[in-house]
């Protein structure tokens, strides 16, 4: 369980644009262990998707990626395109956010499901069909045999996302990256899809990186959580650590933003201010312009990751021995 499957070390991703270099990902370090669910949370624009797309090598040509990403002992950033395409879909698969645009509108679901299966598993068309039917069955698409000859527009949003998940499962990958797999769906279908993923994870023991900005989802599914902000990891730890001993002010802000049934009187608080412009990220800690605890050091120097015990880490100057002590319990429940 605790054997690392994916290790991201010092990942940096920039985009060359006419406006300048966009610093989308800055020195990200993360580990995913075999069979575990790592949730990655943070407001949109914090670099979650770009981090994943960087080592999947799915970014456009204007992206400059550096660092080291070891999967199963090999550095993905050093592989040839051909070697990489043997890992994509086979060892690591992705489930994207928008099921409405993620499937090819002019190809049948069958064609789209078969191609990866035939390619990676070396099956013929009939065998691939059987496998596709099996997969659709597993993700709860009714009448799978008939559905295979249909086109994406004949499916509802929820059904399409099931198909996307089936595509992700197709070759029994060791890691599935699910990038906000339920954001585009309505709440009941969201719950169904998440339940499905939980159950599949239990059955197949696949590791999952689950990108979401729904902390409720995190609590229900994840083993560990990484909080990202401004292209950096702000805090990482187990679900228990992040929810019950959060140490980074940004994590506090995220937790404050969760609606709670037991506290009717408290207004749902969204985080004040807006995420940084990654063309010109603020110096020092990226969160300091929005942070109630910002000190002068925060504006000039980026905080290092501090180990807090049991692999709980946070990048914040408040962790420094000389910093004032702040009670996180109070911070999270503050009105």
């Amino acid at each position: 369980m605790n054997k690392p499957l994916l290790t991201i070390e010092g990942l940096e991703t920039q985009f060359k644009t006419y406006a300048g270099m966009v610093q989308a990902v800055r020195n990200v370090n993360l580990t995913v262990n075999e069979g575990e669910v790592l949730a990655v949370v943070g407001e949109s624009g914090s670099g979650k998707s770009v981090t994943m797309m960087s080592f999947m090598r799915l970014l456009a040509k204007n992206a400059v990626v550096s660092g080291k990403v070891e999967f199963n002992g090999v550095d993905l950033l050093k592989l040839s395109n051909k070697e990489m395409s043997k890992i994509r879909g086979r060892e690591i698969s992705m489930v994207f956010q928008d099921p409405m645009t993620g499937l090819n509108p002019v190809l049948t679901i069958g064609t789209q499901m078969r191609e990866g299966i035939m390619l990676h598993l070396g099956l013929n068309k009939a065998e691939a069909n059987k496998r596709a039917i099996e997969l659709l069955n597993k993700v709860g698409v009714p009448e799978p045999a008939r559905r295979l000859s249909q086109y994406p527009h004949e499916f509802s949003g929820g059904m399409r996302q099931r198909v996307m998940i089936a595509l992700g499962l197709a070759c029994n990958p060791r890691l599935i990256i699910a990038d906000e797999p339920t954001t585009a769906l309505d709440v009941t279908i969201q719950a169904q899809i998440l339940e499905l993923m939980k159950q599949l994870k239990k059955e197949m023991n696949t590791a999952i990186i689950l990108i979401t900005h729904n902390l409720g989802v995190v609590a229900g599914m994840a083993d560990r959580v990484a909080v990202m902000y401004g292209g950096r990891v702000a805090e990482v730890g187990t679900v228990h650590q992040i929810f019950h001993q959060p140490r980074h002010p940004y994590t506090w802000a995220l937790l404050r933003a969760i609606p709670r049934l037991d506290e009717h009187k408290r207004r749902l608080e969204s985080i004040t201010g807006s995420p940084p412009n990654m063309l010109k990220p603020p110096g020092g800690c990226p969160f300091h312009p929005r942070c109630a605890h910002a000190m002068s050091v925060c504006t000039s120097e980026a905080p290092e990751m501090t180990e807090l015990g049991n692999n709980h880490r946070a990048a914040c100057w408040l962790m420094h021995p000389d910093a004032p002590k702040v009670d996180f319990n109070q911070e999270v429940t503050k009105a």
Binding site: L58, S85, T101, G102, L103, N104, P105, Q150, A170
Partner: protein, 308 residues
């Protein structure tokens, strides 16, 4: 699919009827009859002629007669040339025009689509820059300018090809180049931008994430999608070629329908002008129909009889 085609066919028949009706009444509304030439004809003779061509009947009767004949594909006699019918004029010119126009459409498609695709794949590469430049040039220069230049330099000066008239294979070269230049440039531009747009689509990323080799990503996932707007442009493309052929046939003195059409207008040969407008209208509706059916074949979202 069958229901979709049937529906399109019915729509096109309605469009064809509207074309016939509109042209008929517009022609009738024009001032000056077909026999109003400089020489004033004596009243009696004019009456006689009008009776002969049934021009003395009430308008609606003339209209229904005409409609009935169009259904039988009989477009009536020419007013200017004794013994020639409009059908004769069209039949005679059409084989020539069809060759010229068909060749131009074929060349535009066969060259334009692959060049557009390659241009998009090698975005800002040498081929892309060269063809984009040429495309802008040909799109900006009207075909009669290109025709004139070709005629003068390759025809009169260098004598590589006959500068005008029709006959041998060599006669095809200059008018075909002049006629297809615009549509070729247009298709290259359309295919290229359509491919570039498809490149950024989520489903292309999905395909890559599946580990599909790049060739299949382009071939299976991108081109088919990129072709949807290209196929949909088939009808306007042929319309462009048809209109272009009026001018090109005139400049190169090619005995096609396009030239007859232009001549009929200057001759005030009303039945020929009317008949040819109807003919062109039908041709275009036909191409629109073919384009619609092809679009439906490529893009399942267009078909109406979906299940569920």
């Amino acid at each position: 699919m069958a229901r979709y085609i049937l529906q399109r066919v019915i729509t096109m028949l309605v469009v064809a009827w509207v074309v016939v009706t509109l042209t008929f009444f517009m022609m009738k509304a024009l001032p000056g009859g077909p026999f109003a030439s400089e020489k004033k004809l004596p009243e009696a003779i004019l009456k006689n002629i009008e009776r002969r061509y049934k021009l003395d009947r009430p308008l609606m009767e003339q209209y229904f007669d005409y409609l009935k004949n169009v259904v039988k594909w009989d477009l009536g006699p020419s007013f200017k040339y004794e013994g020639r019918t409009v059908n004769d004029v069209i039949n005679k010119g059409f084989s020539v025009s069809a060759k010229l126009g068909g060749l131009s459409i074929l060349i535009s498609l066969v060259l334009g689509v692959p060049i557009g695709v390659i241009g998009a794949m090698r975005h800002n590469g040498l081929l892309d820059r060269v063809t984009s430049g040429l495309a802008i040039l040909t799109a900006a220069a009207p075909s009669f300018v290109i025709a004139g230049l070709l005629q003068y330099y390759l025809g009169f000066k260098l004598k590589w090809f006959p500068p005008a008239t029709w006959g041998t294979t060599k006669h095809y070269v200059l008018p075909t180049i002049a006629l297809c230049s615009f549509s070729l440039a247009w298709l290259i531009k359309l295919t290229r931008s359509s491919m570039l747009e498809v490149t950024n689509q989520d489903y292309v990323r999905t395909a890559r994430a599946k580990g599909i080799p790049e060739f299949w990503v382009v071939y299976r996932h991108m081109i088919k999608n990129a072709l949807v707007p290209v196929i949909a442009s088939l009808a306007p493309l042929t319309a462009g070629i048809l209109v272009g052929s009026f001018i090109i046939e005139f400049i190169f003195a090619i005995p096609g329908v396009g030239r007859e059409f232009v001549v009929s207008i200057t001759n005030r040969d009303y039945t020929v002008t009317l008949g040819m407008t109807v003919f062109y209208g039908f041709l275009l509706t036909g191409f629109t129909l073919v384009g619609d059916i092809l679009t439906a074949l490529v893009d399942p979202r267009v078909r109406l009889d979906k299940e569920g």
